[in-house]
Amino acid sequence: MRWVNHNVRRGNAIILGAIPIVLLILLYLFVAANRHAINPADKILPLPSQMVEAMSMLVLQPDRLSGQYLFWADTLASLSRLGIGLGISTLSALLVGLVLGILPPVRAVFGPLVTGIAVIPPIALLPILFIAFGLGETAKVALIVIGIAPFMIRDIAAHIGALPREQIIKAQTLGASSWQVMIRVALPQAMPRLIQALRLSLGPAWVFLISAEAIAADIGLGYRIFLVRRYLAMDVILPYVAWIALLAVVIDFLLTKSSHSMFPWAHRSNR
């Protein structure tokens, strides 16, 4: 049987998918144990017990200086920045993308501008944002928005622009005005695509968040990682990275689920 025809059953898929992850963890443990056998004070590849010890300080005990539980405060700060950034991006992608996609005159006027903004590397704008908005929350959220909103806008506009012409014509023969075509034909069909675009933007959004926090912040997951880097504190960095990965996977999973439950029509195979 050809490999392209080998479909894996669901139960087996979970087991197969777990194999490389487990192997990687085993490899890490093996190498870390080896290093510790040679040098018990090794900081580069900490053992799980050291990670638990270091993290329990951050997770379970309040910081002596600020009185906060640092791990949770970091998570909350980062997630709220990410949430606001993603929210603004999604909303503007929906509004601008919809109008750009469905109204040719608007596309003619603003299309080149959006494309122009989209090709600027967002990190290059970070100094401008810090100068304009200061070092507070606004600049960090603005970096996320500038980083992902243009991509999402273009994606939604292209998706709307690619709707079959027949549908737009048909809607007009049924008496629909531009506004009605927009909210009844284009908007609902943009929604599943919007969630798709949001999922694809999650990765870049995390990149911009961590970058902004690394450069100027006093709290946040990215801030903590870059802070403890000075002490080679891999026992904190590795659990933080794993936590970020877990958060990202959970958000992605929730988005996929919500798309399936809210827009079932978009996930059926078309004949």
């Binding site: 048909k170 007009q172 049924l174 008496g175 005005s177 609902p188």
Partner: protein, 260 residues
């Protein structure tokens, strides 16, 4: 009385001439089939009548008034594909036209108005044979059912003219003959004026009361794009509406040929 009049209509794309000098009068309640070779401008003619395209020369009158240069609810259309909304259920697709007319801003109806629209839509769906499928989405339906839905969606607006652009081209032969019977029945029941573009000559003659053939009258082998197509045959068929209702389209088609 003549419903639709085309006066010397030309369609040109830059250098390329697609239609030249098309003049037509289409009577109320007629069923006009348009046939012709590929690239003869059948679909262009339909798009011009629909208002999707503006002719480069000439005028089109509907009930004596010039057509506005865009689509409107007076001309319904069924395309070969993509004429239903994949994000709406069968019922939602059918109610769309009513909702647009009655709720300019929200484009949705609520309460008793919604109930009334729903009843009209259900009635329409029963008429096209989709009475049992009202809550399905288009992706769950066969091609034939989608075309039935597209017809119901168009007819609920009671258009002056129904335009069909190769509506049965993508369907199986068996389904196609069912659709022929349905369209004939609806044409009579709703007193429709239908213009249908088709590739299928048999279909054109068995359904139509009039068959128009588009083709180029002249041909320049060095510049084939410089002459456009026009109506080269215009056949009035003596189609007895009553007899046709029961006739199967697989019957001998000589019954449909012109007597003139």
């Amino acid at each position: 009385m003549s419903t639709l009049s085309l006066r010397n209509v030309w369609v040109e794309y830059g250098e390329k001439i697609v239609l030249e000098g098309v003049s037509l009068d289409i009577e109320d309640r007629s069923f006009v089939s348009i046939i012709g070779p590929s690239g003869a401008g059948k679909s262009s003619l339909l798009r011009v009548i629909l208002g999707q395209e503006v002719p480069s020369r000439g005028t089109i009158l509907l009930d004596g008034e010039a057509l506005p240069p865009e689509c409107g609810p007076d001309r319904g259309v069924v395309f070969q594909r993509y004429s239903v909304f994949s994000h709406l259920s069968v019922l939602g697709n059918t109610m769309f036209g009513l909702e647009c007319a009655q709720a300019p801003f929200a484009a949705r109806l609520f309460g008793t108005k919604r109930q009334a629209a729903r009843e009209r839509a259900e009635e329409m769906l029963v008429a096209v044979g989709l009475g049992d499928s009202m809550h399905l989405y288009p992706s769950e339906m066969s091609g034939g059912m989608q075309q039935r839905l597209a017809i119901a969606q168009a007819l609920i607006k009671r258009p002056r003219i129904l335009l069909l652009d190769e509506p049965f081209g993508a369907l199986d032969p068996g389904i196609r003959s069912d659709m022929h019977a349905l369209v004939t029945k609806l044409w009579q029941d709703y007193a429709l004026t239908v213009i249908m573009v088709t590739h299928d000559i048999k279909e054109a003659f068995s359904l139509g009361t009039r068959v128009l053939t588009l083709d180029k009258r002249r041909h320049d082998p060095h510049a084939p794009h410089r002459y456009g197509a026009t109506t080269v045959y215009d056949l009035e068929l003596t189609r007895n509406a009553r007899a046709d209702a029961t006739r199967d389209d697989t019957e001998d088609m000589s019954a449909g040929f012109p007597t003139t």
